[in-house]
Amino acid sequence: MKRIGIVVAVLLVAVLFLVALAPSFAQDDAQSGGTLRAAFQNEWVSLDPHTTSSYSSYQILNNVLDGLTFFDDDLNLVPWLAESWEQSEDGLTWTLHLRQGVMFSNGREMTADDVKWSWDRLIDPATGSGNAARVGPPETVIEVVDPYTVSVTHPEPFGIFPQSIGFDKASGIMAPESVGEDGTVQIPIGTGPFMITEVEGTTRILLEKNPYYWQEGLPYLDAIEISPIPDDTVREVALRGGEVDWVLAIAPQSFDTLQSEEGIVVDTAPQLSYDYIGLNVTREPFDDARVRQAIALSLDRDQLCAVGFFGLCESLQGPIGTGSPWYFDYMPYDQDIDAAKALLADAGYPDGFDMELMPTTQYGETERAATVLQQQLAQIGINATVNSLEWSEWLEKEGNFEYDAYICNWNGLIDADQYYYLQHHTGLYFNFTGYSNPEFDDLVDEGRSLSEFDERYGIYEQANQILVDDAPYVYMYNKLEIRAYRDYVKGFAVRPDQANNFWTVWLDQ
C-alpha cells in the first residue's frame, strides 16, 4: 500500500510539474513594443466590412474587429465576444450572451445594441453585402434581450450559425459611429486588438494598439504599418534587405530560395481552398454530365499543380483537402483517357468539340493552369482556346453565364456547408454554373440545419458524392498558404483560412 502511495505521490508531482511546463496562450517570454512593417501583395479596397469583398481588406479587419465567435489557430470554434450561446427547441432562434466590459477602441462599451446594429446593416438588402448570408437571409430578426444578450431568429433552422458568424469579419462588430455623414465607413471602429489610426489612400495604413483591448496583456506590438508592394521580386527583396519584417505572399517559384536564406522564416499551411474549373451547365455540351465527367477524367492533376502553382499544392478530386475534418475519401477521377473518350462518344461527341477556357489575369496561376489544361483536353479531342480576362470583365462574364468554362479559386472555407451550399444549391447566391439537383439540395439543406458533427458528416458524405459525380466543378488542387518573415518576428501562426492575426506577434530585437 505504502508503495502505491509513493507511486501516486511521485506521479502527482510529475503531473503537476508537467502542467507547470505546459505552454499557455500567453507567452511569458514575449517582449512588448515595436512596430511590425508588413507588406501585402494587393492594395486593400474599402475598409467597410459590410461592402468590401477583398481579402486584403479582411486581412486588415481581422485585427480591428472582433466576432462573437472565433476559430482558433487549430480551427476550433471558441467563444469570443459571446461567452456562450444556445439554440431554441424549434431550432429557429439562437440566443447569445455577450462578454461584459468589452470596449470599442474609442473607449465606449460594446453592448447588444451594437451587435444588432452591425448585423442589421449587414443583412439589409440596401447595403448590398455579398456576405450577408453569414448572419442569415434578409428576413432574419435580430433582437436586443438585454444589454448583454442578443437573440437571432431565422426563417429556417440554421444549425451552424455560431460557426457562420466566426468565418470572417463581415459579421464582426463595428461601432455605429464608424459611419460618416455620407453613409460610408472610412475607418471602422471595433473592439479588436488594434485600431486604424492613419490611412493614406491604399498605399499605407497604420494600426495602433487598442488601449482598451479586452484580452489581458495583448497585443504585444505597439503598431503595425502595412503597405502594398505589387511586384513579387521587389517585395521579396524588401524582405531580404530588411526593409519590411513580414510579407503576406511570395511567388511560389521563390519558395526554395527564400527558405534557404539566412534570417528569413518561410512558413506554410495547407489552404482551406480549391482551384477549380466551373463548367456552364446551362450551355451545350456542358449540360450533359458525361461531358463534364470526361473533362474531369482527362486531367493530370499533379501536372496541373506542378505548373499552376510550382508544386506547392495538393491535387484534389473533390472540394475538400486531406487537412480538413470534413475530408471525404472519394476519388473517381484518376486520369483515364480511354474512359474519357468513351464518355464523350456516348454523349455524341466522338471527335470532341471546341470550347473556351476563361482564366483571369487577377490570379496568374489560373492562366498557367489554362495552358496545361489546353494540352490535357486535346488528348480527348477537345480543342480549347484560352481567353484570359482582367478581373472586372471576368466577374461580369462569370456572373452572367457568358462562358464555357472559367478557372478560379475559392478560399477560406472551414465548415462543410461552405463547400457545398451557396455554390451548388439550386438558384443560390454563388451558383454561377447553373447546377441543379433536388436530391443534393435536400441533403445540404438538412446539413446546415443540424449542429452535430457526426450526423452532419454522413449527410455531407452523400452530398459530396452526388456533386463530384455530377461534376459542375472540376477540382484541380488546393494550394499552400505561404508567409515569409524575418526571424525576429515571433508568435505568428500561418492559418489555413488566410487570416493574419497579429495580436500574439512580438519582435525579438
Partner: protein
C-alpha cells in the same frame, strides 16, 4: 510672344482636357466591366450588384454622370472613389508630388545621359564611340521598364544593399530618405528615356554640324569647343526641345509602370487601378490631372522656343 497667346492656349487646353476626360470615360464604359461587381467580388448576387449600382449612381444616363462629375470639378470637388469610398481630392494631393518628383528626376537623369552621349556620338560619327552609343540606345529602347526596374533592384538593393527596393518618403519627413527612395525609380525611367533621347539628340546635332554656318565658323578659325557649344548645340536645341516635349507623354506611360514596380505611391499607380476596377470618378480625376500636366509642359516648351530662337513667331 504675348500674353494673349498664352490665354488662348490655356482656353484651348480647357477644351482639350474636357474632351480627353470625356473620351476616357466613354472608352472605359464601352469596354465593359462593372465597378459594383468589382467591389463585391465573386460572392455578389444579382440583387447585391443592383443595390450597389444604385448606391454608386451608375443607373443614371451616361451624360448625366459625366456632367455631374464635371460640375463637381468646377467646384473643386473630385468626388468619391466607387471602390474604396475614399474622397479623391486628398488622394490626388497626396500622390501628385510623388509623381511630379519622379517625372522631374527622370527627365533630369535622361538629359544628363542623352546630351553628352548624343553630342559625342554626332561629333565622332561613324567611330567606335558612335557605335557604342548606338548600341546603348538600342538596348535602352528595347528593355521593358519593369524588367529594367527589377534588374536595378536586384543590383542596388539586394547585391550592394545601398538603396531601398520600394516605397516613398515625403521630402518634408527626411530629405535623405526621400532621395534614397527616389533614385531607383527615377533611374529606371530616366535610363530608358535617356536612351531614346540620345538618338534624337545625335541626329539633331548631325544635321546642324553639316550646316553651312558651322563650316563658316570653323573656317573663321574658332576653337572646336566654341563651335560646338555656342553655335551647334544652341541651333540644335530647338529640334531637341520639340523631341523632349513629345517624349514627355512617353515618359508618363513609363512612370505608371515604374510606380507599380517600385510601389511608389503616385498618380500613375492610381490611374491603372482606376482602369482595372472601372472606378470611373477616380479614372476621370487621374486623366484630368495627367491632362493638366501634359498641357502645362507643352506650354512651357512653346515658351522655350521663343527664348531659344527669337525668329519663331506665334500666330
Amino acid at each position: 510672344m504675348n500674353f494673349r497667346y498664352i490665354v488662348q492656349r490655356l482656353v484651348f487646353a480647357v477644351f482639350v482636357i474636357v474632351g480627353v476626360t470625356f473620351l476616357a470615360f466613354a472608352i472605359v464604359r464601352g469596354v465593359g466591366g462593372d465597378p459594383a461587381r468589382v467591389k463585391l467580388g465573386v460572392t455578389a448576387t444579382e440583387e447585391n450588384v443592383a443595390a450597389q449600382r444604385e448606391r454608386m449612381g451608375l443607373n443614371r444616363p451616361f451624360l448625366v454622370q459625366y456632367g455631374d462629375w464635371l460640375l463637381g470639378v468646377v467646384q473643386g470637388d473630385f468626388g468619391q472613389s466607387l471602390i474604396t469610398d475614399q474622397r479623391i481630392g486628398p488622394q490626388l494631393e497626396q500622390r501628385l508630388p510623388a509623381t511630379l518628383q519622379l517625372g522631374a528626376a527622370a527627365i533630369l537623369i535622361g538629359m544628363l545621359i542623352a546630351f553628352p552621349l548624343g553630342i559625342l556620338a554626332a561629333l565622332r560619327s561613324g567611330s567606335k564611340v558612335d557605335m557604342a552609343v548606338s548600341l546603348f540606345s538600342q538596348l535602352g529602347m528595347s528593355i521593358p521598364d519593369f524588367w529594367m526596374g527589377i534588374l536595378l533592384v536586384l543590383l542596388f538593393s539586394l547585391q550592394f544593399g545601398v538603396l531601398p527596393p520600394s516605397g516613398y518618403t515625403p521630402i518634408d519627413d527626411s530629405f535623405r530618405e526621400w532621395l534614397r527612395h527616389l533614385i531607383l525609380p527615377a533611374l529606371t525611367a530616366g535610363l530608358i528615356s535617356g536612351a531614346i533621347q540620345t538618338r534624337f539628340i545625335r541626329s539633331a546635332m548631325l544635321e546642324v554640324l553639316r550646316a553651312n554656318y558651322i563650316q563658316t565658323a570653323r573656317a573663321k578659325g574658332l576653337r572646336e569647343r566654341t563651335v560646338v557649344v555656342r553655335h551647334a548645340v544652341r541651333a540644335a536645341l530647338v529640334n531637341i526641345v520639340t523631341i523632349l516635349g513629345l517624349q514627355m507623354t512617353a515618359l508618363l506611360s513609363s512612370v505608371v509602370v515604374v510606380e507599380i514596380t517600385f510601389a511608389f505611391p503616385g498618380i500613375g499607380w492610381l490611374a491603372l487601378n482606376a482602369v482595372l476596377d472601372r472606378d470611373y470618378p477616380l479614372l476621370l480625376a487621374t486623366v484630368f490631372v495627367i491632362g493638366v500636366i501634359v498641357t502645362l509642359v507643352n506650354l512651357v516648351i512653346d515658351l522655350l522656343y521663343f527664348f531659344l530662337d527669337p525668329r519663331i513667331e506665334f500666330a
